[in-house]
Symmetry: C2
Subunit: 327 residues, 2 copies
């Protein structure tokens, strides 16, 4: 019998189907390197990107990581944040920033192929860029994300991530913050902290853990093999993460992606950091985390239009597959 | 310069990019008939579906439309609606219904190829099935939708739609209802009625109209060529639509899909009726409508994870293309 499960933060209901799709049931389009020549993100082609914003070099001549503006930015920092109406409607000018983090000088396709230190660099770069951009107080939210593979929307295969700085807070994040607030008002506890306690003690949905991180399959997972990487200590803002947490995070994300690549044969995936709006102070009721969503199924009209999902893989089974896979 | 626009109902912000993608910029995968043999929805293959729930026959032997249970239902009506907890979490048994509306006996692929009368039948079938299913008061919401083409999640090409009856209200609909209520509390007017007034008087986003229907490109469209079909008269519940409105609706939806097929060369699309929860009385602050979303672009990590969209086609331009296309 299928089961309806409620996300404890947002209140979103999900159908967890009982037909129990196994990893081999999903369409496979393994993400592997195709075009090694002419890649604008490879070392030696630095002139093919807009001018560098940041790079990490380890003292050597060769960079390890570069941050550049997106060549086709969705938003720009130049200009005035002009709010206006159009009858009933509201608009504002498209002020913001859109940056690309090139994660390695060689033509590697997967973040999981990089040494741990390079993955740490990625999270340091996210942190550094937020710290810099948030000084522009028009920018209220920073989206940190990765599109990996064509099915996940990546247009270049060279391993990279993106940052979009926005003058507004995205609805899905706002819903989590509002849901966290409702829970806090009722319980005087953070809902994510409660989730961590329950998932640590039961461990049926736990995938891996470090001293500072728990990786889990969420109870009301919307997608097969949806995976959350959650810091154990309460903190609403990613950009305040200290060095040992960044180290734990990098290890956990890399290990989780290796497991996903093993079990699902190099799937396309997206990951996204959900964090509090940058101009707000610390929030007792919100807890930053990273969500990884493998792109294994087509999302149909039903899901799209309603924000209501059918997940053919119970998260307990996904967690078991991922736990059993080696690092 | 890109522009940020706010959906007046949900408060969701969208980036309307200024690079102005034209219809020819989108990936094309025209939806055309492939497999005519062995289709379980064709006349003569009635034994390949579960037993019929409803059919329309016009007095003739041959059916024009059939409603059957989904062979792989996401939810079932049998059983008890059992709500329970699991520590922090909430779940309920997967009570509901999942039905398929087969729109024609011949192997037609597009709803727009059917005679007007057949399209009316589809909306009558939606109405009849809601009226029947809502007597089961455990069922709170009815999702009426169509997945057209592989990219939109259709697994069979024979023209069909679906109904899913749920014991919960999907979040996206709930957000619209909540947003409509906030607007009503402030203005004492329905936000959709206000939108209709503005779009009728300005007509830059209007696509076509009948006496009872306005078809428009929404101001804060999330997707290129997103199109809404909105009844002019205020009404929260689709299932109360009278005969002339059903006739207007069928004509308008068919004409809109013909236009989309002309401009976008037979795209995959989803449509979905957004209507009020069936067990509620009439709502002053909600207004049912139908949303059509052509599937022209891959949705990337950014959109998924944040509920924040970048739309490369300004709705005013999409409306112009669709207005200019013949019926």
């Amino acid at each position: 019998m299928p089961e309806l499960r409620k996300d404890p933060v947002t209140g979103r209901w999900v159908i967890i189907a009982s037909d129990r799709a196994r990893p081999s049931d999903f369409l496979r389009a393994p993400v592997v390197a195709k075009a090694k020549t002419g890649c604008p993100f490879c070392a030696g082609h630095e002139d093919q990107t807009p001018p560098e914003i940041l790079s990490y070099r380890d003292g050597a001549d060769q960079w390890n990581l570069r941050v550049v503006p997106n060549k086709f930015p969705a938003l720009r920092v130049e200009g005035v944040l002009d709010r206006s109406g159009e009858g009933l409607y509201d608009k504002m000018s498209g002020i913001g920033a859109h940056e690309v983090i090139i994660e390695c000088p060689e033509h590697k396709v997967s973040l999981a192929q990089l040494p741990e230190k390079r993955v740490e660099d990625l999270f340091w770069a996210f942190r550094d860029r937020i710290q810099d951009l948030k000084r522009d107080t028009r920018l209220r939210y920073m989206l940190l994300f990765k599109n990996h593979g064509e099915a996940a929307g990546a247009s270049l295969e060279h391993s990279h991530s993106q940052l979009i700085a926005l003058p507004v807070v995205p609805v899905q994040v706002q819903e989590e913050i509002d849901g966290g607030r409702r829970y806090f008002e009722f319980k005087e506890r953070c809902v994510y902290c409660d989730m961590l306690r329950q998932e640590t003690s039961s461990s049926i949905r736990a995938i891996l853990e470090t001293e500072e991180i728990l990786v889990l399959a969420p109870y009301a997972a919307r997608f097969p093999f949806e995976t959350w990487v959650v810091p154990r200590a309460h903190n609403s803002h990613f950009e305040t993460a200290h060095a040992s947490l960044i180290q734990n995070l990098a290890w956990a994300v890399r290990a989780t992606i290796r497991k996903l690549e093993r079990v699902l044969e190099f799937p396309s995936y997206n990951f996204l950091i959900h964090t509090a709006p940058v101009q707000e102070g610390p929030l007792e009721h919100y807890h930053w985390h990273l969500e990884i969503i493998p792109r294994l199924t087509k999302v149909a009209g039903f899901e799209w239009g309603a924000g209501f999902y059918i997940n053919p893989t119970p998260p307990e089974e996904a967690a078991q597959f991922l736990r059993d896979a080696g690092l």
